[in-house]
Amino acid sequence: MSATIALVGMPNSGKSTLFNRLTGGNARVANWPGLTVELDAARVLLGAKLTRIVDLPGIYDLTGGAEDERITQSFLAENPLNAVLLVLNATQLDRQLALALQLKRLGAPLVVVLNMMDEARRLGISIDAEALARTLEAPVLPLSAKRGDGAENLKRILQEFAQGEAHAPLPMAETPPAAAVHEEERQLFERHVRRAPLLDAGLTQKLDRWILHPLIGLPIFLATMYLLFQFTYSLGTPLQDWLKDGCDWLKDGYLGPLLEPLPEFLKGLLSDGLFDGVTTVVTFTPIIFLFFCLMALIEDSGYFARAAFLMDGLMERLGLDGRGFVLLMMGFGCNVPALLGTRVIRDHKARLLTMLTIPFSLCNARLQIFLFLATALFSPSTAPLVLLSLYVISILLGMTTAFLLKGRLASSEPFALELPPYRLPLLRHVLRRGWGECKAFLRLASTMIVAGVAAVWLLTHYPEQQNSYAAMIADFLAPVLRPIGVDSMLSIALIFGFVAKEVVLGSLAVIVGHSGQELADTLAHTLDPVAAYSFMLFTLTYLPCVSAIATLKKESKSTAYTLFAVGWSLGMAWLLSFVFYQGARLLGF
């Protein structure tokens, strides 16, 4: 019979950092009785006892009605636990002790951790942990999950609890409302916590004067995002090139000769289908990994909340909140980390609405296509304007989607976002979190992408290369695509774009028979600026790549929603291109 320990705590108390420290970053999501959501959990050995450690969502009030609070209530009501590990932010005990008191009244087997002791010390806060332990009748351990101080002590205490008997599930119906324990909390705080007289404005307040400045706050945000993206690309692109060269070398040097004796069909499928699929996944992993790290950095540093504050005024009118804007911006790097980043929006409907807007963000992969086409088909002075216009349209599409659909996906979240002090996350934690999310994503998407590239290869080579299924599909779609200026050559490239946008240019090269400058020249001869721009509008909007669609499906847990998202963007794409193309032609362009 294994032991179970659950972590409970308020948001911004470093609970997840402690969880990672206790579990060594080996957590997987798991299903639990009575819950429709999965929770992060891991098995660790405490002493000789196999123990499951579960990270419950951050909650503010054990009697609250928000989704996370209901999840925690259900979990505590259904599962016998050896210990409830309560993680409190030592710098905010004036309002966090209430959670300890609520749990104590329920008779929970409490182990209280006063986390972020390093910050508390810096603020001149001193806490009488022993006296608190006596009053709460539970161990109270000062700790810094970030640094690791006190972690060994904690593990020893948890070991004792794990080896004992599991406590019955808690009588959650008897939880005292927070207001009932506030007086006791105030007395506890006054008796056992000493705070130094107020010092002058800390670094957080000094930074906020600029970062949240009504006029320059937004430009600072946009500039910061731009610089972070540039930094990410400057790290990621050499890695991508290096990996691509490696894969090509493997293909030419080893795979080619290995497959030589095989029949033509098998050779093509394995080499240009499956292996190219694997190459695609391998080469975009560095960028995806870096963007996951970037998301973690922005969230954990406290900057995310600031950016949300800046944009909430506007976002509220679209049925979103300020966090949606930050995520839209992140989508400009890559849609997938941004979609996964919507997890910070705890209300399900609000999350769904935000997720609908992100695929319209002009991601790096689409930018590659547009850079190529813009330089090939427009003059050096017009090309930057073309690109800028596409970015603007991308944002407008996301906002319009939210505005049109906000009625059906309204949030019921009590929106009051905490602004934690700025913190410099440890690089080690950021990398570990980024890698963890990247791994989880690859597990999900790599099969789909490899299968997708292989499928596209089959479609373009069967029954014969000149008259393939892909060409037939393109012909079939011609009545729909001709009115927006997309010819059959381009429509086949669009089919490739479903798999991964990075593949569109490569596939155009294959279809046309040239690459690089020659491809640019060929396109310049066959496409006029109007058709080119219409194609770019359509490529911007029509579909997220298969990885993004897979993420939408996984995070929404609804096929209907995913199909709607795909249909919606297809519809918007066609409408947009149609209005532009026909309008431009009507005006004589």
């Binding site: 308020m10 503010y60 009030d61 009697t63 609250g64 009605g65 928000a66 710098t91 905010q92 005990l93 004036d94 309002r95 209430a98 927070a178 207001a179 506030h182 307040q205 906020d208 949240l212 009504p214 006029l215 909340a305 949300a308 504050f309 800046l310 944009m311 909430d312 005024g313 506007l314 509220e316 300020g322 019921s412 009590p414 929106f415 009051a416 976002l417 905490e418 602004l419 934690p420 002090p421």
Partner: protein
């Protein structure tokens, strides 16, 4: 006097609110208790949220909700 009428840097004591129960609970968890001192740190542009501080906690609250919070001069 309601919270949204305070200017940047002003503080006031919380008296009562007419907010939905869920939001009320959330704000109580941030430290909004009878007589707590609320400081206005910033006001968002475009009629955006207000940045408030109560004790050790800083948070943002939408303007419409601030209008439903009654305060008394500190």
């Amino acid at each position: 006097m309601t919270l949204n009428e305070l200017s940047i840097g002003q503080s006031a004591r919380f008296h009562a609110h007419r907010l939905p129960a869920e939001l009320g609970r959330r704000l109580a968890a941030f430290g909004l208790r009878p007589n707590s001192l609320i400081e206005v740190v910033n006001r968002g542009w475009l009629g955006g949220p207000m940045q408030l501080r109560i004790g050790s906690t800083e948070f943002m609250l939408r303007r419409a909700h601030c209008r439903h919070i009654e305060v008394q001069a500190a």
